[in-house]
């Protein structure tokens, strides 16, 4: 059993971001709770039994989806259900429908999904593809990082996710995944991509093929160059090469859910098919 740090209340209920970060600085052993769907399941299984919990649910500033200009700010405490209802992006809609179950989505939060960086989590690859930024807060104040930085660095001790900021992006946005069953459950591997004709940019996020979600800058650059932006088209060979480069960007393991070989294969095929889908969408509406 974990022994309690003296005088740490068992349940901390901050109402502001500042109170929360202040409390975490004083009680570093407290476990942050967003919706609790992961934290509570782990406690029930005896995997982690923290001496106290810090609930984010009382912090009004962390919730809600707001639009400013073309961009969107998603508060960390936004539930996955509310994000789905907000219809922020077609990519996110499909990804969220595939994420766990309606019951979980009514409780689980965006902050909790990305704060825990395990590679099977759904949203980080999506946010990579949407070129998002993450705002986080610690005792020293708030900072904003690109999603790429966030997935590789994560949170510092005592830091919380405040929001995810999506810049304006137009054009093709899609998420696909392969999983061990058709019903709900963690994916084996996933690819999220957005191809923005206005910005002439490609952004990819990969799930399940590294220690955390991965960006694929080389593949993005390749495809950006391989696309004929005026004609809105590219070649079959480029689609295949993009898929191959996704596999190259991956660093998958063989684990209980699948093999490294299959994961590499899956991102290769998914990458190729996504580019084909983009081409077809341009030309068949």
């Amino acid at each position: 059993m974990t022994t309690a740090v003296a005088h740490t209340p068992r349940v901390l209920r901050p109402t502001t971001i500042k109170e929360a970060t202040g409390a975490l600085a004083v009680h570093p052993g407290a476990r942050v709770v967003g919706g609790g769907t992961l934290v509570v399941a782990e406690r029930s299984r005896g995997i982690d039994g923290p001496a106290s919990y810090l609930l984010l649910s009382g912090i009004v500033d962390l919730s809600g989806v707001s639009r400013d200009g073309g961009g969107v700010r998603i508060g960390a405490q936004t539930t996955l259900r509310d994000l789905l209802d907000a219809e922020v992006s077609p990519l996110l809609d499909v990804a969220l429908r595939s994420l766990a179950t309606p019951q979980i989505r009514n409780r689980a939060t965006v902050g909790g999904n990305i704060a825990d960086r395990r590679p099977a989590h759904t949203l980080s690859p999506c946010f990579l593809a949407l070129d998002a930024a993450v705002e986080s807060a610690g005792a020293g104040g708030t900072r904003r990082r690109s999603m790429r930085e966030f997935v590789s660095e994560g949170l510092a001790g005592g830091e919380i996710v405040v929001s995810v900021i999506l810049p304006e992006r137009s054009g093709f946005q899609r998420y696909t995944r392969v999983a061990p069953r058709n019903g709900p459950g963690y994916a084996i591997a996933s690819v999220a991509v957005s191809i923005d004709p206005t910005a002439r940019s490609v952004r990819t996020g990969l799930g399940g093929v590294g220690d955390s979600a991965l960006a694929a800058p080389a593949a993005d650059d390749f495809l950006t160059a391989a696309i004929d932006w005026d004609a809105q088209t590219t070649t079959d060979a480029a689609a295949a090469e993009y898929g191959r480069l996704l596999a190259e960007a991956s660093n998958p393991v063989t684990d209980d859910r699948s093999t490294a070989t299959y994961r590499r294969h899956a991102v290769t095929v998914m990458g190729r098919r996504l580019v084909e889908a983009w081409t077809e969408e341009q030309h068949h509406g």
């Binding site: 509570v40 919990y53 609930l55 309606p102 019951q103 979980i104």
Partner: protein, 157 residues
């Protein structure tokens, strides 16, 4: 150990409950079943994977097994609160048991509550809509066929 006990105020089925000696890490499921005696909410996986413990929180279905009781604000509806007080069945409950192959029934209270929220949002649902909307509820006995039929029929407007 005593400092690990907390007091809770919960609003369940329209009644305000006060619990004095819950563990600070206790789940809503545990408080409902073992402190309030509301055992209609079923315990099965305790990881949010099966839906047997589904309750409504302000009308939305959640897994009570992965909700910290200390972090529950709002009105909780359990199967006891949902079911008509006169012992009868709601049209959804009747549709589910009439549709055929209810077997052990362990999944059923969770299925009913998740279904009630689903049909509120999905009038005249198709089979595929039911499959997607109810995928958070496992049943190990049936092949889901009658459950899908029952929910689809109950969604008819």
């Amino acid at each position: 150990m005593d400092d690990e006990r907390i007091s809770l105020n919960l609003q369940v089925n329209g009644t305000a409950y006060h619990v004095d000696d819950a563990w600070y890490f206790e789940t809503l499921l545990s408080v409902l079943r073992y402190r309030l005696g509301l055992t209609g909410t079923k315990q099965s996986c305790e990881t949010g994977s099966c839906g047997a413990c589904t309750v409504l929180l302000d009308g939305r279905p959640i897994n009570s097994c992965v909700a910290l009781a200390a972090d529950v604000q709002g009105n909780v509806t359990t199967i006891e609160g949902y079911s008509p007080a006169d012992g009868s069945l709601t049209p959804l409950q009747e549709a589910l048991v009439a549709a055929g192959d209810v077997q052990c029934g362990y999944c059923l209270p969770g299925m009913v509550l998740a279904g009630s929220a689903f049909i509120a949002d999905h009038p005249n649902a198709t089979d595929d809509e039911v499959r997607e909307g109810m995928c958070g509820n496992l049943c190990r006995c049936t092949a889901y066929g009658s459950l899908i039929t029952g929910i689809r029929e109950a969604s008819k407007r």
